[in-house]
């Protein structure tokens, strides 16, 4: 079986700083992969590379077997693919951001239906119907005509999830989806994500919600200083005795609902 996402030898440098130092990762289809690690470990950068928001310096990313952004020739050189092909591969990916990034001049419905109209060229009524169905999925059908500024953070993030889902991606990427939410609002977003995982969506989640990672994640990848230190099922990764660096990292989460792990 072809992995939904396959990452090999991924290196990302910003000038002198090497943020990713050779990452190898397989994301199985229909499973939830959680990227955890301390700030600056490179987990968000890795996710942004998967969304092609950052272009990796070296290495390759395959999405459903198709190269993302660059083709690697047998002699190891990389050539940039034409933008049409990049967009075709990218269209299999949905992205959810820490700060929602909803477009403030469009209603919730407008945010979700916009790409259906502009990119997929659907008629207004069909686009609105599909967008409405997605809003219903995240429980916001009666907030459809409100603008982002009129929604709570949790509702905005659910709209953002609906916006990504509207294009029927095969893979959903989440970049710290609850980090800018109050603890009270975190739950509603995590519930939507749980339902999505139960539906069999392939998900890659960067999160500080260790409890969520442990309970929903099928695969945990622990990054530190741009390297993948550990990778396995939650049982394997969190089992004692633990990797010393992970233990140190988890210590900071004792008071954040992760006590169940210890």
């Amino acid at each position: 079986m072809i992995a939904a996402v396959s990452v090999t030898g991924l290196v990302k440098r910003f000038g002198q700083a090497e943020v990713l130092r050779g990452i190898d990762l397989e994301v199985p289809a229909g499973r939830v992969t959680c990227l955890i690690g301390p700030s600056g470990s490179g987990k968000s950068t890795l996710l942004r590379c998967l969304a092609f928001l950052e272009e990796a310096t070296e290495g390759a990313i395959l999405i459903g077997g198709e190269p993302l952004g660059f083709a690697v020739t047998p002699d190891g050189r990389r050539t940039r693919l034409p933008s049409g092909r990049i967009r075709a591969v990218r269209s299999q990916i949905g992205m959810v951001f820490q700060h929602f990034n909803l477009w403030p001049h469009m209603t919730a419905l407008g945010n979700v239906s916009e790409a259906l109209k502009t990119v997929r060229r659907l008629g207004r009524s069909e686009a609105d119907d599909r967008a409405m169905a997605q809003l219903r999925k995240v429980g916001l059908q009666n907030r459809a005509n409100l603008y982002p500024s009129q929604l709570s953070g949790g509702q905005q993030q659910r709209v953002a999830i609906a916006r990504a889902l509207a294009l029927e991606p095969k893979i959903m990427l989440f970049d710290e989806p609850t980090s800018s939410l109050d603890p009270e609002l975190t739950g509603e977003v995590l519930n939507v994500m749980r339902a999505l995982a139960a539906d069999g969506m392939t998900m890659v989640v960067v999160s500080h919600e260790i409890g969520f990672a442990a309970s929903v994640g099928h695969q945990i990848a622990f990054l530190d200083h741009g390297q993948l230190l550990l990778r396995g099922t939650p049982q394997e990764v969190f089992r004692k005795p633990r990797h010393a660096r992970l233990d140190q990292f988890l210590d900071t989460y004792l008071d954040r609902g992760a006590a169940m792990l210890l």
Partner: protein, 222 residues
Amino acid sequence: MTFDLGFIAQHLPEVIEAAGTTLMIWAAGAFCGLALGFLVALGRRYGPAPLAVLLGVIVELLRGTPFLVQLFLLYFGGPFIGLSLDPIPAGVLGLTCYAAAYYSEILRAGFDGVPAGHVEAAACVGFSGWQTIRRIILPEMAVLVMPALVNMTILLLKETAVLSIITVPELTMVTSAIGSESYAFVEALFLLALFYWVMVEICGHLGRFAELRLARTGLVAR
């Protein structure tokens, strides 16, 4: 000396015609200047580095020299490089370039004011560059730049008075001529000021109306 507006009545047709010329040149300069300014801002923001630098230098030159001097150079210096224009086309061209320099700076700040994340979100749902500009960047920056654009457009109206020095028959030139013929300078200038003020008020109200329209879409509270 008395303050007598009665004499103006005799000259009213000329004054109205001149006001029409002013309005026409103003509208043309503002419209073309905004379009050109948009292209300049795009070039400086997204164009290749040499183009961005070149455009930056031109904008600095236009902003750093008096409009009067620019017009003189264009109208009297133009023929030396084969650019002989009649007063009105020269005036419109000069005003367009002058306006474009300032408009481009306002729009550049507008581009910078749109959060990068909103553009990334558009890229993630498959928008092309142009679709992102049209559907996301322009509407979002409109609310940011509208007050500054209105301000610049008002200034531009008053700058059209400078066109009188290259003999464009606009309001300032015609009214001053009436003033010198009849020795009724105060009345003529009073009338002149009144005309500009009325036009600025109309422009200002249109601008406020546009701002309210934008505000109603929920854009303001971000």
